[in-house]
Symmetry: C2
Subunit: 303 residues, 2 copies
């Protein structure tokens, strides 16, 4: 069960951190960018960068989140780098989250699910094009748009994270509106997530259907943590977006369980502030982030 | 201005139809599937099929909608077919809508927008990886997740369609909930769309920011058509999903303007019911659909 495995890796590393491989080409050191003039060259350089980051952090963090937009923009070369990045992270024992926020009607959602979580069959061959452990999805279409993902989660031991309260400044425009029944839109989405996960609760009490809850909105996080006891949180917004450990605390339950905090630029670009190689600086940033998170969460233990 | 061009093509063809290239490999005739055993083979066969469909219908319809999940599931080979399908449709003079329902925080949305609407720069080279005229997006994240798309729409004469009231059975679970202010969630999303489009209204009164409004929900469509006078509708759900011309009528304004109706399986798989070649059957299905739509809309004229 994927969330159980995830929690065990978090306890093992004592680091509820997800390294966000939102690897913009501009993030790479100048010497890696020099002379690169096409999508293929950019994609190759990003793959080298990602592999070195993964090598440097894979023993101290449980997971990576690979944001697909940063790869798709380089066409098939970028998608190849995306696929190889996910495969390399998996090879190194990391939980791989594809951040693609996919959503569509059932028939089409089943294709997205086949691409990332399940498998696509051609003749006798069956494979996922972009194998991932977990996938972010958008629940605006309701249950029948989520059902195909749930089916594959169940069949292939995968998980999803549904957008509930996102980290961006405008997230409240829709998400914080109050419904006639007294709930907010994000609470309503959270309730659907808890419902979608009700069939897959693992041994630590969390289901395979997680929620994206931004570190930048601690009030809402507090409400959601209490309201969604079986929902594991993917928490973006720490670092460059303004979230800090104190704000993140609201996303966690007793024993420091219940979520994983993503950091992208703060890790990938750490070398720009710290000096040294980007790989070494990324490792130091992960260790600092661990200390920062544990200073408010205490020792993380799965009961 | 993209929506003006779109409307002119609709008037010219007298056919507010969008051919949905949601080309599942299973839709292909048996002889095209025989002996295909890998993603590359499947992707190549789909490209051949798509090109023949496009050749057969490009003089009688204004647009195609290419649903990216059906390509992504075949990895880079599939994405190549997706890219070449879009390019071929564009070459044949069709308006190309990429149906990808993308959504993310601003910094990431700008990458998606670069992939489909704008451009990605590497060295001196600047290009979009997957050039499209219009892109479907999901507005759950609010204004700052939409802003990068609006910027590129403006800069490159492109357009977007935001999910407002989707065609699937569960769409009401969130979208039809009533807010404390009396609006439904879909009305609220519609109001945001109208606002996002306020800076780009073209000469026929419609902006570059359209809305996805399902043919399967005529009550909601009627409300939205009235409420969003400057918003052009992309209307899925006709045919296989249960929508018909009578239901679609609610999406259109005076003169038969205001939207375009998508049909995927009903066109791609027409040969299975009609016999003959798939390309010829697709053409006949498009002509029948035109007759069906015009029987309720009357002559389409842009004033």
């Amino acid at each position: 069960m994927i969330t159980d495995r995830f929690i065990e890796k978090i306890v093992e590393t004592q680091n509820p951190t997800c390294v966000g491989l939102d690897t913009a080409f501009e993030y790479l050191p100048e010497e890696m960018r020099a002379g690169v003039t096409d999508f293929r060259g950019a994609a190759n350089a990003i793959l080298t960068f990602n592999r070195n980051i993964i090598d440097s952090v894979c023993d101290i963090v449980p997971s990576v989140k690979v944001q697909i937009a940063y790869y798709e923009q380089y066409g098939e070369a970028g998608m190849e780098t995306f696929r190889k990045t996910c495969a390399y992270a998996k090879e190194k024992g990391l939980i791989v989250i594809t951040d693609a926020k996919r959503n569509d009607i059932g028939a089409t959602a089943s294709r997205y699910s086949a691409a990332f979580l399940g498998e696509t069959a051609v003749g006798e061959n069956r494979a996922a094009a972009y194998p991932s452990d977990m996938l972010t999805v958008n629940g605006y279409l309701g249950t029948d748009g989520i059902a195909p993902f749930l089916e594959d989660c169940n069949k292939y031991e995968k998980g999803i994270f549904v957008l509930v309260k996102t980290s961006n400044p405008s997230s409240g425009e829709l998400q914080n509106l109050q419904l006639a029944d007294g709930r907010t839109v994000y609470e309503c989405m959270g309730d659907m997530v808890e419902q979608w996960g009700s069939g897959s609760v693992g041994k630590y009490g969390y289901s395979a259907v997680g929620a994206v809850v931004g570190a930048t909105h601690p009030e809402e996080a507090r409400v959601l943590r209490k309201r969604l006891p079986h929902t594991f949180f993917l928490i973006p917004g720490y670092g460059a977006q303004g979230g800090n450990a104190d704000m993140v605390r609201a996303c966690f339950a007793q024993g420091g369980l219940g979520g994983v905090v993503n950091n992208s630029r703060g890790i990938l670009c750490a070398y720009q502030k710290r000096g040294g190689t980007y790989a070494q600086a990324a490792r130091e940033a992960c260790l600092d982030m661990k200390d920062d998170l544990l200073s408010v969460l205490g020792e993380i233990c799965a009961k």
